[in-house]
Symmetry: C3
Subunit: 330 residues, 3 copies
């Protein structure tokens, strides 16, 4: 098994959930996500009627309830059947599987395990998503690859030198180090000097710190300092959250924030990030998925380089959690 089940996974950005319900498959389970009318709380349940397995999403929303479009069972936001068009008796077993939801930092998380969910503290925080001093943009990319290949990509940013000319290109030659700390994996990328990628004719020094938290959340903080007398410095935070749709497809949720009064427009910021993730990273990662022809990474005996240290720590930590979960279930 390549998934951790007892975990919080990001299912959507908050603003993806408006009046229309959203169907999104997480760990091979099709979820129907929607907001309650009064409280605006997010509800997540399995998009499959327990009667004849029709998608509830093909049915009809009635207030905060959903009515199946096949034989009409109606379910409330707790997943309990509340109406049967053909009988007064409502079968007590008619219950939708619902998923615990936590919404914070503009993100909607669902608990995919079967037992009691871990507490809210298990979810990494992204305060910059809602910081009024910043402007933050958000995106979602469906990548046809094992989510661990995308994590590999994120934990080793040296690929910037070859895939992302806008982020420094060949000048992106960092010293790398990686370590584990309180259950997270950190990967630092230290660039002593490279041309300023933010527009000036000078040079910058940059430290990119990627922090992974199980099962597949990545927080990147890019610290940049101008190498002139100003020593002006700033930090760009960004989220890179991976939710497996299946063994071979992943929802990649990304964000990035700039100062509220940055001259960069949101449109240009999104366009640049889309180019990086959709046009530059995604085809490469999907090509790797193809080239691996269904094999596990280690079975192909990859040659590991120093900058791979972070991703190796992540893969080990993740596998340890998956194995522990399997052992606990057995």
């Amino acid at each position: 098994m390549t998934y951790l089940r007892n975990a919080w996974y990001m299912a959507a950005w908050s603003d993806e959930l408006g009046d229309q319900p959203l169907v999104r498959t997480v760990l091979e389970m099709p979820l129907l996500l929607y907001r309650k009318q009064e409280t605006r709380d997010v509800v997540a349940f399995l998009d499959r009627c327990p009667h004849r397995f029709a998608p509830l999403s093909l049915g009809r929303r009635i207030g905060d309830d959903f009515q199946c479009g096949y034989h009409g069972l109606r379910f409330n936001s707790e997943g309990q059947c509340v109406y049967n068009h053909f009988a007064k008796a409502i079968p007590s077993a008619a219950k939708l599987r619902t998923f615990p939801v936590i919404e914070q930092d503009h993100m909607v998380w669902v608990w995919t395990g079967t037992g009691a969910p871990a507490s809210r503290e298990a979810i990494p925080r992204f305060p910059f998503h809602t910081d009024p001093a910043l402007r933050c943009v958000f995106g979602t990319t469906l990548t046809r690859a094992d989510y661990r290949l995308i994590s590999d990509n994120l934990m080793d940013l040296t690929h910037t030198a070859f895939l992302h000319p806008e982020f420094g290109g060949e000048h992106y030659v960092p010293k790398c180090r990686a370590w584990e700390e309180h259950g997270s994996i950190y990967a630092d990328h230290l660039i002593a000097s490279m041309p300023d990628i933010f527009g000036s004719s000078g040079s910058i020094t940059e430290t990119d710190r990627m922090r992974w938290t199980a099962p597949s959340t990545h927080l990147l903080e890019s610290h940049v300092t101008m190498l002139d007398e100003s020593r002006f410095s700033f930090t760009i935070p960004s989220a890179h959250v991976l939710t497996p749709e299946s063994q071979t497809a992943t929802h990649y949720f990304w964000s990035s924030a700039v100062d509220r009064d940055s001259p960069l427009s949101n449109e240009d910021l999104v366009a640049g990030l889309r180019r990086a993730f959709d046009v530059q990273d995604k085809p490469m990662i999907e090509a790797v998925q193809q080239r691996m022809q269904g094999h596990e990474l280690w079975d192909l005996s990859p040659v590991m380089l120093p900058p791979d240290a972070g991703s190796v720590l992540v893969r080990r930590a993740l596998q340890k959690l998956i194995d522990a979960e399997a052992a606990a279930t057995a």
Copy 2:
């Protein structure tokens, strides 16, 4: 195994077989069906030359024989090789697998088993297909779903309330009962009163009796009585015959008859039925197939409601026959 092999399956409507041969896959076997020139009898054989396995349908019809388009072996309507372009000797083993055929009631049935076929009496009759007092229309829908999911749909017509507004919609609230009788499964749907769906401003009472016969034939008789002083009543018979193409695709043959002098044109009748079966039922059943993700129905622990009784009896009766066949073969 999800098929009964020793059974008569409907392969085509009689009028689908004109001068052109028809290839139709039944239980994963590609059949070539055609009419003999003189007798107009239907011939069915495996569309696969026993020599090098080319489709005979890519060859050439010569009288009632078919000549393979690859190396030219020619077979008569009994499947016996009668010509080899390169030698006078004809290999006695060169024999096409032929299938017993019965044509009656505008329907062509083939026996897919390997032993002697069951007698003609095993095939349910549909005399309304050829009743000169009636006008009957016929259609075929290829549905990308397990044939048993379509049978489930047919044995419980309460889905009419949500999928078929033209047949009563939410007013279709029947009392249901189901029972076995002489090897058939019956499912009655009794509607005490609903608005007349045939055009008047009054109300009707309707009894829809669905009768299943193994392996997958359904006869529906809809008895309608006007709830006015006229007490005018009539019966609409219809056939719903399912032939698996594969585990996940089904030929759904449907018919319906009205009085010869009904004001409803054949075109309008067919359009209405196509809407019901192609536009309303088919996408829902295919969505169920997808949502079941390859699992067997019972493995997903469906919540059963009273109107499911008919389909449950059908699934049990069918499984009993399949198990008995497997036991007899083993």
Copy 3:
């Protein structure tokens, strides 16, 4: 297993390899093929970086080296890593799998086994490809079928009577004989008399000798003599070389030569051969592949005819080699 691994397979025509590298999958291994700038020698390596398994073909050619487009490892034409953008140390394990290459007779052959390659003498010669007295044309057809089905097609040319009217059609009624000689399988097709297919109103006698050499090379020599007082005779040589892309897809490399001063233009010659191989043979062979539904030929108990003798000898000889290889590996 349906492949012989320790063998020379044709990967390309010489003129398919110009300045641009070519990716071609052979025995399920994606190969990157290119010519060195100075020597014009052909290099073949696995199109998969040993680091993170990105396709080298998505990277950049630098002289005779290839640089991975993901993290920038650079490999020379021996497959050795010669540059790492992020460190002076080059990991000695970073080595591309390279494949021995022999280029002769306008053909590029690769050794797909893991041990030392067989000597050049193991590769059949096609001197007519480069004979200055002849004009030769070359083509490649990707056929979605097991390569052994195409070999079956080639070893029994009686299919000409039904698939290739331009090559004689129904008049192509040969006496066939097949035999093994020095590890090759020969299949002779002797036509005593048929109408001249080369344009005159007279008749010809033709002997088509197909010679198979392991793993899947076919040389056809068609000897034609005019049946008039001139007794004018000539020979048309052609190559039919099959390289499996996978179990169900095959690169079919074909050639044919005419006298340098033949009135037939190269364009017309190619058009005729494309019609034969792409329009006539390919759909039939692909249909056979479909009709066999994943079964092995012998499991379907084919009826064998005398002209099948050649293909049966080929299948036996090939299976013997495959079995011997499996035994040696075990």
